[in-house]
C-alpha cells in the first residue's frame, strides 16, 4: 500500500481515543467566554446561572413571606410585577401561588441541581480525575446553553397574559392539564413550565453523559476509582441518578404538553366539571402523573443533596487535617442513597388514593434509607473525633451543613410513616423538612464549596471576615426560619395557603410573622455573600496554588486558575489515595496525590 494510505491509517489511530478532549485554547472572546468548550468556563457559566436564579428565587420567597405574615397589606411597587396579580399592590391568591410555584421550580431545578452538581462538577471533576477536559466538550457546551434556554422559557411565563402556572412544582394533574379552566396561569403558563423542564432535562442528560464518561474513561494514570476524591464520587453518583431521573421526567412533560395543545387525555379523567362546564377530556389517569413525577421527584431530592455531601466531606477533610473514618463506607452510603431513592418515591403519595398496601410497601424502604444517611452522619461525626479542625468560612459552612442535615434528616422519620403522614401530609412540617434537608443544607454545601474553591477558580482568596459574618447570620437565621415550620406543621398548618382564613390556623399567624422577619434578615445577609463574591473576584488578595494545603489534583495545577488544558503539557501521575493527612513518617502533615513520596499510614504503623 502506498504512502498516503498508511498516513491515513496512522491518522485514524492517532485520532482515536481521547482526542475529543484535546481542543486548543480559543482566541476569540465569543469562543472563550460565551460558547466555550472549556469545562472550567462552562462550570463558571453554570454557577452564574445558579446565582441569577437564586437571587430571583429568594426575592420571590420574600414577597411570599411578607404576604403570609401581613395578608392584604400593600407591598409598594408590586403592581409593577403584575398589574392583575397585585391590584393596588395587594397580592392576589393566584399571584401568591404563581410566585410559590416559580420559587420552587427555580430553586429545585435551576439552583439546587445546577450549582452543586453542574457548576462545581463541571469545573472540578475533570481536574480531580486528572483529565484535560470532558470527553464530549460540544455536548458539554450544549448542556449549559440548553439549560439556559430552559431558564429563559420558564422566565417567559411571567410575561404571558395570565402569568406563570400556579400548580406548584409538583404540577399535579388534572389541575395542570385542564388549561385555563383550572385557573389563571394553568393554560400557557403550564405549557411553558413543562417545556422549560423538558428542555432542562435534555441539558442535564447531556451533562450526566459527560460526567459519567469522564469518571470512567478520563482518569489519569494511577487514579483508580478508589483514589477519586469524595466530591468526584458524589458527582459521579449524582450523574448516574440524573441520567435515569431526568429521562423519566421528560416523557411526563411531553405527555402533559400534549394534553394541553393536542387535546389528548393522558392525565385528565372523565366527567370533570369546572364552572358548570363539562371538560372535553375523558379517561385519563391522575395518579399516572404522580407516579411519573415522583419517580423523578425523589431522586431529584438526592441529586440536590448528594453533591453537597461530597463537597462537604472534601472540604471537611482538608480542614480536619485527617481523612474520613472510612472513605469507602461514605461512597457506598451515597451509592445506597442513590439506589434506594428510586424505591421510596411512593411515600409522597401515601394519601393520594394509592392502594393502602402499597403505602406500607413504600414506607419500609423509606425508613431503611435513613440507615445510609445515618451512616454518613456518623462517619462525619466519628471523623471529627481527634481532628485538628481549622475554623474558616468553608469549614464553618461544612459543619453547618452537617447540623442542618441532621435537623432535616430526623424529621424524615415522621414523614416515612403513612400513619403519621395522616397528620403531617401537606403541612408546614413537610415544607420545613425539605427546606432543611435539601434546600438549606444543599445551599450550605454550595457556600462551603464556593469559599473553598474560589481561590482556584479566580486566583484570589475570598474575604474571611465577610465570609464569617455571612455564615453566622445564615446559620442562626436558617434555624430561626425553618425550625418553626415544623411546629406549624404539628399544629396542622396546611402548606400552599396564601392566607389563613381557617379558624384554627389564625392563632399561628404570629409564628408566621416571626418567620417572615427572620427570612428578611437571613435573605439580606446573603447580600454580604454577593458583595464578597464580587469584591474578592477583583480585589481579593492573590491566592497561592494550594492555599489550604490540600492533597487532591485540583491543587496541583501548574497555575492558578488552571491553564486551558488544566495540567500544562504533562498529565499528573497519581501515587496516593486522595486524603493523605497527618500521615506518620511524612515530612509535612499532608501528601499530595501527585507526590511520589513513600510513606506508611497510621493503621499500618
Amino acid at each position: 500500500m502506498n504512502e498516503n494510505i498508511s498516513r491515513e491509517v496512522r491518522a485514524m489511530h492517532d485520532m482515536s481515543g481521547h482526542a475529543a478532549a484535546v481542543h486548543h485554547a480559543p482566541t476569540s472572546f465569543i469562543r472563550k467566554h460565551v460558547f466555550s468548550l472549556d469545562h472550567k468556563v462552562i462550570g463558571k457559566q453554570y454557577y452564574g446561572l445558579a446565582l441569577a436564579a437564586v437571587i430571583i428565587g429568594m426575592v420571590l420567597s420574600w414577597l411570599m413571606r411578607i404576604h403570609l405574615a401581613w395578608t392584604n397589606a400593600a407591598i409598594p411597587g408590586l403592581h409593577l410585577m403584575s398589574t392583575s396579580g397585585a391590584p393596588g399592590d395587594v397580592m392576589t391568591p393566584e399571584f401568591y401561588l404563581q410566585l410559590m410555584t416559580m420559587h420552587a421550580t427555580i430553586m429545585v431545578f435551576f439552583v439546587l441541581t445546577t450549582a452543586p452538581f453542574a457548576a462545581f462538577g463541571n469545573y472540578f471533576l475533570p481536574i480531580q480525575v486528572g483529565a484535560e477536559d470532558m470527553p464530549f466538550p460540544h455536548f458539554n457546551m450544549m448542556s449549559f446553553w440548553v439549560t439556559f434556554v430552559g431558564f429563559l422559557v420558564l422566565m417567559a411565563s411571567f410575561f404571558v397574559s395570565e402569568g406563570p402556572t400556579l400548580g406548584g412544582w409538583t404540577q399535579y394533574a388534572p389541575l395542570s392539564a385542564l388549561g385555563s379552566a383550572g385557573g389563571p396561569g394553568e393554560g400557557m403558563g403550564v405549557v411553558l413550565w413543562a417545556a422549560s423542564i423538558a428542555i432542562f432535562c435534555v441539558g442535564q442528560l447531556l451533562g450526566s453523559l459527560n460526567f459519567i464518561t469522564t469518571t470512567l474513561d478520563m482518569r489519569t494514570r494511577g487514579m483508580s476509582l478508589w483514589r477519586l476524591p469524595l466530591s468526584a464520587w458524589s458527582w459521579f453518583i449524582t450523574s448516574c441518578m440524573g441520567l435515569t431521573a431526568f429521562a423519566v421526567l421528560m416523557p411526563a412533560c411531553i405527555l402533559l404538553i400534549l394534553d394541553h395543545v393536542a387535546g389528548t387525555s393522558f392525565f385528565v379523567p372523565s366527567n370533570v366539571v369546572i364552572n358548570d362546564q363539562l371538560q372535553p377530556h375523558s379517561g385519563g389517569s391522575t395518579l399516572l402523573w404522580q407516579h411519573l413525577f415522583w419517580f423523578f421527584g425523589h431522586p431529584e431530592v438526592y441529586i440536590a443533596i448528594v453533591p453537597g455531601m461530597g463537597i462537604v466531606s472534601h472540604v471537611l477533610i482538608t480542614n480536619m487535617r485527617k481523612p474520613m473514618l472510612s472513605h469507602r463506607v461514605l461512597v457506598y452510603s451515597m451509592g445506597a442513597l442513590a439506589v434506594l431513592s428510586y424505591m421510596v418515591y411512593g411515600h409522597h403519595m401515601f394519601l393520594s388514593g394509592m392502594n393502602p398496601v402499597s403505602s406500607l410497601v413504600f414506607s419500609f424502604p423509606t425508613l431503611v434509607i435513613t440507615i445510609p444517611s445515618t451512616m454518613v452522619v456518623l462517619i462525619w461525626l466519628g471523623s471529627l473525633y481527634g481532628a485538628k479542625i481549622r475554623i474558616n468560612t468553608a469549614s464553618l459552612f461544612a459543619l453547618g451543613f452537617i447540623s442542618m442535615f441532621i435537623s432535616g434528616g430526623v424529621s424524615g422519620f415522621f414523614l416515612a410513616q403513612p400513619s403519621i403522614d395522616i397528620m403531617l401530609h401537606a403541612t408546614y412540617f413537610v415544607v420545613g423538612h425539605f427546606h432543611m434537608v435539601m434546600g438549606v443544607a444543599a445551599m450550605f454545601g454550595i457556600f462551603a464549596g464556593t469559599y473553598f474553591w474560589f481561590p482556584k477558580m479566580y486566583g484570589r482568596m475570598m474575604n474571611e471576615t465577610l465570609g464569617k459574618a455571612h455564615f453566622w447570620l445564615s446559620f442562626v437565621g436558617t434555624y430561626a426560619i425553618f425550625m418553626p415550620f415544623h411546629y406549624l406543621g404539628l399544629a396542622g398548618n396546611v402548606r400552599r395557603y396564601q392566607a389563613f382564613v381557617v379558624e384554627y390556623m389564625q392563632p399561628l399567624i404570629p409564628v408566621h410573622r416571626f418567620i417572615t422577619i427572620a427570612a428578611l434578615f437571613t435573605g439580606a445577609a446573603q447580600l454580604i455573600f454577593l458583595y464578597n463574591l464580587i469584591y474578592s473576584r477583583f480585589k481579593g488578595e492573590p491566592a497561592k496554588d494550594n492555599p489550604w494545603q490540600a492533597t487532591s489534583l485540583e491543587w496541583s495545577t501548574p497555575t492558578t486558575p488552571p491553564p486551558h488544558n488544566n495540567f500544562g503539557d504533562k498529565l499528573p501521575v497519581v501515587y496516593h489515595d486522595p486524603y493523605q493527612y497527618g500521615v506518620q513518617g511524612s515530612a509535612g502533615d499532608y501528601i499530595m496525590q501527585t507526590s511520589p513520596e513513600k510513606v506508611t499510614t497510621p493503621d499500618e504503623a
Binding site: N72, S84, P87, G88, T92, P93, S180, G183, Q277
Partner: protein, 249 residues
Amino acid sequence: MKTWYKRTCAILSALVVSAVLVAVVGEQVKAAGEGSITGTVKLNGTAPHMKGIDMSKDPYCVAQHKDSPAKLENVVVGSGGGIQNVVLYLSEGLPANAASAVPSQEPTFDQKGCLYAPHVMAVDVDQKFKVSTSDQTTHNIHPLPATGSGNIGWNKSQPPGAPPIETTWKNPEIAIPVKCNIHPWMHGWHVVVKGPYAITDENGNFTIKNVPAGSYTVTAWQEEYGTQTAKVTVAGGQAAKADFTFKAK
C-alpha cells in the same frame, strides 16, 4: 383708532352670541327628535321558590346576612308581579349611528355580602364598566363568555380594598355568566347589547331613553325565562309603551 377697537369688539361679541344661540337651539332640536320606550315586565303565574344560599363555608359572608338570609336571585318578583333584572334592548331597527353611540356613564358591578350587586348588569358594546368589591373577603371574578362570541373571558381576584377593575366588552352577547369560584354560589350576568337599553327595577318598570324616532323590535331577556320581543314605533320626542309578560314555568 378707538372706534376701530369698539367695532371689532362688537363684531366679535355678536359672533360669540350667535354661535351660542345656534348651539343651544340645535341641541333642543336634536332632543326633540329622541323619544323613549317605557313599560313593565310582569310574571304571569306564581313566582318560583328561590332556594336559600348556605354560605357557611365563609363566616364573613354568613355574618353579612345575619338578619336577612340570602336567596338565589334568578327570578326576583316584586309587588304586582313585576320582574326585576330583566334587560330590554332594541334588537332591530336601530340606525347605525345611534347603535354606535356609546354611553359615557360607567355602571358598577359590585360584590357585596358575597353576592353580585346588581345581579344582572347591562352594558353597551365598548362601554366602560367597573367591577368593585365592598367585601372584606377575597373574591375572584370570572366572566365566561361563550366561545366564538368574540369576547375574551378572564379570571382575576380582588382582595379586600383592591381598586376596581375597569374594562369593557368588545362584542354584543346575551348574556355572559359571571362566577366567583371561591364562593361557588355567587353568579351574575353581564348583558352586552348595541344601542340603548334598560333594566327593570324591583317593580318590573323600565324606560329605554334616547331612542331616535323610528320603529323597532324591543327584546326583553330574563335569565330563566329567555327572551320576548315586541314591535314598537317611537315618534320624535314621544314616549312609546311596551309591556312584557313572562309565563311562570
